[in-house]
């Protein structure tokens, strides 16, 4: 069975999502989805151990050998993300049951679990596949599932934001396919590894750069890189809390992985970074994201939207590391993908707890929450602080690597903007902390008497603890990221 593990990790969530759709009993479906994601997590960890022992896995789908057939290629870089995605979705599913019961209509919950698993399967598919067109198919599978997840929010505006994302996502996917088509014309191959070899022999640079531009912009729409981020805040704000936590900790991260994979493993460092305009655009947009999105976040009154804009800003940090493209910058990016995943899951799950108890959506309604719900308020405070990058939290680790990376390049302006954007994060996070702790609760704040379910509190607590733990002991996160960058992205140099 172990030799089929690459196929099983992808197919298990997808096939379970189908069974969930057939069964339509909310409690049983919760059990099926949680079990499926638990097995996927265990399998992904086994897969990582397998790789570190025996080297990369190459799995020929349908028995057709690559480069003709579809190849699933697992190395230390994508195996790391498969572990991250599957464990994050397992934890969020454990949390999900009561939160969904309170936020969704009863007849929609089964569909939610089904689409959640389908999205998970699609995301793991993007991570595992070594085929350009197969990646597109999985991109569509996960996106279609995402649109449905967003549209299920209790607010009517959820439908509009899902539709907005559908339009933007479709444009992104179209641009991606045009890029893949150009590559196919140039190289005659769809296997990413095969393409990366054939690209070396090309002399026609103009169409190659055109394909690079199409693919980068197409994926950047999915990543929500700053000027293309318009779909993200509404989508995060109106999706069910569990859906927001899932999307923010997985979907954009997988898109960033795809971008890194294309830049470093398909086109290669020499093709991409010999083009100074490309580097300038990536760095420029990242810095714009860090400033622009943080500034918008400062003036947001909707709680979830505030953290959604902060996600756009944090994505800027990750793409900044891609733009730096040196050892420390790439580790910074990889670690920040992991760390931001943990932070945002913790924050949105904490918000889910608050919504479960009070049904608030605006920041000013948080006034005096520290007195009424002290435990959740403490957890939200800690995870928000790691967003700023206070030493001792995970945010500090990733920014540290990014700053070292920028210093190695000698780009002082980048270092300065990293520092200033952290200050901006301090403002919007500080506003929330101030509202929660330094004001008397308003009478309008109604806390219902439903006691918070243990597992919701426990999962939020575990994730918040992780933001502190991985900020102190970085052997697991930064260690694995170092291995991934060293062995895969930089080709073991």
């Amino acid at each position: 069975m172990i030799e089929h593990i690459a196929a099983i990790v992808v197919m298990l969530p997808i096939i379970s999502s189908v069974f969930v759709m057939l069964i339509r009993n909310n409690s049983i479906n919760w059990l099926i989805s949680t079990t499926a994601s638990l097995i996927t997590s265990i399998a992904s960890i086994m897969m990582y151990l397998q790789i570190s022992k025996n080297g990369n896995i190459s799995y020929a789908m349908g028995g057709w050998e690559p480069p003709v057939g579809i190849e699933y290629r697992i190395d230390e870089f994508n195996a790391l993300f498969i572990i991250l995605i599957s464990i994050a979705s397992f934890l969020i599913l454990l949390y999900a049951r009561h939160s969904l019961n309170s936020e969704l209509k009863e007849n929609k919950i089964s569909t939610f679990y089904s689409m959640y698993l389908l999205c998970l399967g699609g995301l793991i598919g993007i991570l595992s596949t070594g085929d350009a067109f197969n990646a597109f198919v999985f991109l569509e599978i996960s996106s279609l599932a995402t649109y449905i997840l967003i549209s299920m929010g209790s607010d009517r505006r959820a439908l509009l934001s899902a539709y907005q994302y559908l339009i933007m996502g479709t444009i992104g996917a179209t641009l991606y396919v045009i890029g893949v088509g150009l590559i196919f014309v140039l190289t005659g191959s769809l296997n990413l590894h095969d393409i990366s070899i054939r690209i070396q022999e090309l002399e026609l640079y103009r169409p190659l750069y055109a394909s690079l531009a199409f693919i980068t912009v197409g994926i950047a729409l999915k990543v929500a890189l700053f000027p293309l981020h318009a779909w993200l805040p509404n989508a995060y704000a109106y999706a069910p809390s569990v859906g927001t936590a899932f999307l923010s900790s997985t979907a954009t991260k997988v898109a960033i992985y795809l971008l890194i994979k294309y830049l470093f493993l398909v086109y290669g460092y020499d093709v991409v970074y010999s083009n100074k305009i490309f580097v300038f655009v990536i760095i420029g947009l990242s810095i714009l994201a860090m400033f622009g999105a943080s500034l918008i976040a400062i003036f947001q009154s909707n709680l979830k939207k505030l953290f959604a804009y902060s996600s756009v800003a944090q994505i800027g940090y990750i793409t900044l590391g891609i733009g730096l493209a040196n050892y420390n910058g790439l580790i910074g990016s990889t670690v920040h993908i992991i760390n931001h995943s943990i932070i945002k899951a913790a924050i949105f799950l904490a918000i889910g707890c608050i919504v479960f108890k009070t049904k608030i959506s605006d920041t000013h309604e948080l006034t005096g929450l520290g007195k009424k719900m002290p435990v959740i308020a403490i957890l939200l405070t800690i995870s928000s602080l790691s967003l700023i990058g206070i030493p001792g939290t995970v945010g500090f680790i990733s920014k540290w690597y990014l700053i070292i990376g920028a210093l190695e390049q000698g780009w002082w302006l980048v270092v300065l903007s990293l520092a200033i954007s952290s200050l901006l994060a301090l403002i919007y996070v500080g506003r929330i902390i101030e509202l929660m702790w330094f004001h008397q609760p308003e009478d309008a704040l109604i806390v219902n008497s439903k006691s918070l379910p243990v597992e919701m509190l426990a999962i939020t607590f575990i994730l918040t603890l992780a933001t502190v733990y991985f900020g102190i002991d970085t052997r697991l996160t930064a260690g694995l990221a170092e291995i991934a960058v060293q062995n895969v992205l930089l080709g073991g140099q």
Partner: protein
């Protein structure tokens, strides 16, 4: 008695042929142009014609909606089940060689079985979308 007798009689003659043509496209799919998707759409067009001619009330009674809701996941299960059958027989996922003693026969069986999966899912989703439009404003 309604005055659309010509339409009703001619569609009664047409519908069986449409369905047979759908099956022809389905099973011809591994030799020539065609396959599960096209066949599913042709089959759906028969149901749509039936609904237009005989009215949605009668169509919903003769072909209840839940059948089509069931067909969407069922087709995926047929498709993925074929894949897992290959794994169980010790081959890679969706390797049709696993499905018979002689690899060429295995490929044949494999393609037909996944195309049936596609056929079932396409009918399910197409008719569900059509019914969703037909039922609008009724509830």
């Amino acid at each position: 008695m309604r005055l659309d007798i010509l339409l009703r009689i001619s569609s009664k003659i047409f519908i069986p042929f449409i369905v047979i043509f759908a099956f022809y496209v389905q099973f011809h799919g591994d030799y020539g142009p065609g396959g599960g998707f096209q066949a599913g759409v042709i089959f759906t067009s028969a149901i749509i014609l039936y609904t237009i001619i005989f009215g949605s009330t009668k169509a919903l009674k003769d072909f209840p909606e839940w059948i089509f809701h069931l067909m969407i996941p069922l087709g995926v299960i047929i498709f993925a089940g074929t894949g897992f059958l290959s794994i169980i027989n010790g081959f890679n996922f969706l390797d049709y060689d696993a499905l018979a003693h002689y690899p060429k026969h295995g490929q044949h069986i494999g393609i037909i079985s996944i195309e049936i999966g596609v056929f079932v899912t396409v009918i399910g989703s197409m008719v569900s979308i059509f019914y969703a439009f037909v039922n609008r404003g009724k509830k």
